[in-house]
């Protein structure tokens, strides 16, 4: 029961954080494609 409670508690904060990080990664994708394209041009 204690372990379950602990898991739920961490999920409570972990899921929003993962959502936020995923949105940030999504936002940063243009940067990666730009850097990759620059490397390819070289």
């Amino acid at each position: 029961m204690n372990r379950f409670k602990l898991l739920v508690t961490w999920l409570l904060v972990g899921l929003p954080l993962v959502w936020g990080v995923a949105r940030s990664v999504q936002k940063s994708l243009p940067l990666f494609s730009d850097v990759a394209a620059a490397a390819h041009r070289k």
Partner: protein, 446 residues
């Protein structure tokens, strides 16, 4: 008020029952910090707030709207400094509930202000009342976490303060999603977004407040034997906040935090524009760069503060300052080489150390002053952040704008600022190296 109410909120009622798992406490702290960290993502509301009336002359301007965020940050620093002793006396549960009431109540008042188009109500709501909630929520779990994790105080506070960094990653896209959901051809959706956020954040913050527990007096982790000497020696002395802030150690640490934040915040605030100017990339790529830095800002808070538990606080700050200065002065070189990937790697590392500086300072204070009133001492030290939040961005903006006006190519307009940031970190390094243990005459009687 019912007679049972005070005991529910009291510190006594928050003492953990036998068998309580200490790993339940960090998520309680993170729950509060990811909500109040929304303030970092407030800028998504700025532009919509300037067209609440449909772009008429009566609409608010960007500088007017910008004051909402500034008032909130100033109130964060002031409330943390002034209410620190009350926070220590009242315990984390009462403080977290008060923080939730202020922050979410402030969002509600701001929502009414937007609906009635009364800017002063938005200043009062989000800025003043919400700002008090920010300060209380920021320092509420600090001393509790360090008492639960005497073996890993840096990691413990790093987790909570990482939540504050993560709050921006959640708050900004959440604000945009909510505005999109509520907007109509005649309504930007800001007021409804504020109201919904108040409800959501109230749930999370109250859950955090309900979950938090303080350890019984004299508690220590199973199998942990406090070391008597060395970098990881247990802290046995305590210094009262009213004495602590008069010691040179407090002011040296104030300078340490101020210099570390000034350098980092200047770059973070201008990241997108800097990337566009230096490498000629599009606004979308610049925005992507800013997004990536936010992740490093959050991750660095946990990583570097955990490292400080192994190396000691002074060593880790020496790394921030020395490595940070070297990286700052190398930024112009990455531009000359046209190496965008190297530029991204260098700035990401810089920002990770900026976040690390925030997260490591509570443990540094605990090493110097003990855990007795460390939350209150931390609260007073946060005024360094308030000053840095003004100085850092001002330096980057002012110098780069002046250089551009003087005819320096955009790509090179940031060079002198980067050298200056390196210099600022050197001031921090000197302050850090001057930190010595507090004189025993200041210690409280055991």
């Amino acid at each position: 008020m019912t007679p049972g109410l005070p005991s529910f909120f009291s510190r006594k009622a928050t003492v953990a029952e036998p068998g309580f798992n200490r790993w339940m406490v960090p998520p309680a702290a993170i729950a509060v910090h990811i909500c109040i960290g929304q303030v970092y993502g407030f800028s998504v509301f700025n532009e919509p707030l300037t067209r609440e009336l449909g772009k008429t002359a009566a609409d608010w301007t960007i500088p007017q709207v910008g004051w909402i965020y500034s008032i909130a940050l100033v109130m964060l620093g002031l409330s943390a400094a002034f209410f620190g002793k009350w926070v220590e006396r009242s315990g984390p549960k009462k403080t977290m509930f008060t923080s939730a009431a202020c922050f979410c109540g402030g969002l509600l008042v701001a929502s009414v202000g937007v609906r009635m188009h009364q800017l002063w109500l938005v200043y009062l709501g989000y800025g003043l009342i919400g700002g008090i909630g920010l300060g209380l929520g920021y320092i509420a779990p600090v001393s509790t976490l360090m008492r639960w994790f005497p073996d890993r105080p840096g990691m413990a506070t790093g987790l909570a303060i990482m939540g504050f960094g993560g709050g921006a990653l959640i708050g900004a896209p959440l604000g945009v999603e909510l505005m999109n959901r509520f907007k109509t051809p005649t309504n930007t959706g800001v007021a409804s977004a504020f109201m919904t956020m108040a409800g959501l954040y109230a749930i999370w913050m109250c859950l955090g407040a309900l979950m938090v527990r303080v350890p019984p007096l004299g508690w220590k982790p199973d199998g942990w034997t406090p070391l008597k000497t060395g970098r990881r020696a247990a802290v046995t002395h305590n210094v009262a906040v009213d004495i602590a802030w008069k010691t040179p150690q407090f002011w040296l640490l104030w300078v340490v935090l101020c210099m570390n934040v000034s350098a980092g915040i200047g770059v973070l605030g201008q990241a997108s524009l800097m990337c566009q100017d230096m490498f000629g990339v599009s606004a979308a790529v610049g925005g992507g760069f800013a997004g990536l830095l936010s992740i490093f800002n959050m991750g660095g808070r946990f990583l570097w503060s955990s490292v400080s538990d192994l190396t000691g606080r002074r060593t880790v700050y020496t790394i921030y300052f020395l490595l940070g200065a070297a990286l700052y002065v190398s930024i112009p070189l990455t531009q000359q080489l046209g190496n965008k990937a190297l530029f991204v790697a260098v700035t990401a590392l810089i920002i990770s150390m900026y976040g690390g500086g925030f997260a490591t300072i509570p443990a540094y204070l605990r090493d110097a002053f003990g855990t007795h009133q460390v939350g209150a001492i931390h609260g007073r030290l946060i005024t360094a952040w308030s000053l840095a939040a003004i100085v850092g961005p001002m330096l980057v903006n002012y110098i780069s704008t002046a250089k551009k006006a003087a005819g320096v190519p955009k790509a090179e307009a940031y060079n002198s600022t980067m050298y200056l940031m390196g210099g600022i970190l050197m001031v921090g390094l000197v302050a850090n190296l001057l930190v010595r243990p507090v004189h025993p005459k200041h210690h409280l009687a055991p």
